[in-house]
Amino acid sequence: MGENVVIIGSGQAGLQTAVSLRQLECAGAITLVGREPHLPYQRPPLSKQILTGEWEPARCLLRHAEFYAEHDLRLLRDRMATQLNPAHRHVLLDDGTTLDYDALVICTGARPNRLRFPGAELEGVCYLRTLDEAQALAAQLQPGAALTIVGGGFIGMEVAASARSRQCRVNIIESQPRVMQRSVLEPVSNFLQARHEQRGVAFHLQECLSAAHGDRRVESVSLDDGRRIATDLLLVAVGVRPDLEWLEGSGIECGRGVHVDTHGRTSIDGIYAAGDVAETLHPLLPGRQVLESVQNAVSQGKAAAASIAGRPQPYTEVPWFWSEQYHYRFQMAGLPRPDDELVSLDTGQPDSLCLLSVGGERLHAVQCINSPQDYMAGRRLIGLAKPLALDRLDRPGARLKELL
């Protein structure tokens, strides 16, 4: 195959697509277009090891610098696509250049939701998505500094844990009744919130930020109920949205993200999408889903590459995700559904948790804290999609893997 492949976005999904194409012996030109000045890197450490200072930034790189030339991958950095023209099979970049393609892969990921509030422009108000942003935040996490985080999602919670390890004072403002509400089952929220509180993190649930105050730099924030919190830093971490704006007018079918099937194919022939930007069909999940995870970026990147290489291989892997906060390792697989029954299992270990989300005798999701064996068993069981004999777990010491 001598196809000319252009990949817009050089994060986990974009890089995976390029690597998989070469592994599948696609010999054509491959161009990766990345918005950032850095070589492709992984994002999970940004809220953890980069903030705690455990890792040098270079350790986040997904491949060493020579890899790209060695594999004949053309990497354009500091470049953004601004327009897609499927009729002429080209994309326009922000520097005015045009790239022609035989196959195009959309891997532009997601951007943080921005909040509008008085004081949003003050110094010390920050977001966290890129390595530069992580390094800038890390430099300000000095012992005794006060950090206020708007948003008790995964990023907010992980940053809180990292900041506590650097002896910062931390407040979290969350508009929902519990933290990480969108993604995790209630006992997980309660478990992790309690562990944060034991370590001195203060939570303000069902509260909204109304303004940030300060002269040049943020000095305090106020909540809707009028309370004020003194702070040196304000991190806004209220979720992300797929980066789609540049696709406007292209005619490509989008919902929340770019619609793809299990082969990574979009509504337009020759155009594929993968990663945080894609809204995918999945044999184990209802409807279409935007799955924001490394695993999803890797799986979809592989599926898109396989389609381009003419060796289609659908994405059927059980979606999974993990988070680390202090020494708590949270792992989840599958997605809970609204009418599921929640089953809590005894893990046999102190300070841990295993939850099952079950509907119609099928296991839809497993969520574990410090119980990797139950998590692995659950992930397998979800993939098998067979009726679950839950009654067999109704005795002390029963383990989930017995159902495999």
């Binding site: 690597v19 070469r22 592994q23 992984q42 999970p44 450490p45 350790r59 491949r63 060493h64 890899f67 594999h71 490394v294 695993q295 890797v298 999974w320 993990w322 680390e324 390792r329 792992q331 990797p372 064996q373 692995m376 068993a377 397998r380 893997k401």
Partner: protein, 104 residues
């Protein structure tokens, strides 16, 4: 410099180099034929599974509880299985021989 002999999934042999303090996974994921290591070394995914030759196996600290738990779930687990994200290389590992385990 630590030299490592690696047998990939196709049976091909490679020699790679590492520095003391590197984790084996970080060395192996650099290569096309290397490990996937999706979770980046958090001992969360078991996609960096390798087999160590027995006399080398004994020259690393034992697997902890979390790693054992993940290994227990792998179809291709063998007595000399390890997750390469949990193996820190030291000068005495020069000459290490590893074989990559099949994807699950």
């Amino acid at each position: 410099m630590i030299r490592i002999g690696v047998t990939d999934l196709g049976g091909a042999r490679h020699e790679v180099q590492a520095n003391a303090g590197d984790r084996l996974m970080e060395v192996l994921r650099e290569y096309d034929w290397g490990v996937a290591a999706i979770c980046g070394g958090m001992c969360s995914c078991a996609t960096c599974h390798v087999f160590l030759e027995q006399d080398w196996f004994d020259r690393f600290p034992e697997a902890d509880y979390d790693e054992q738990d993940l290994l227990d779930f792998l179809d291709h687990r063998a007595p000399n299985s390890r997750l390469s994200c949990q193996l820190t290389l030291e000068p005495e590992h020069d000459g290490l021989q590893v074989t990559l385990a099949p994807e699950e």
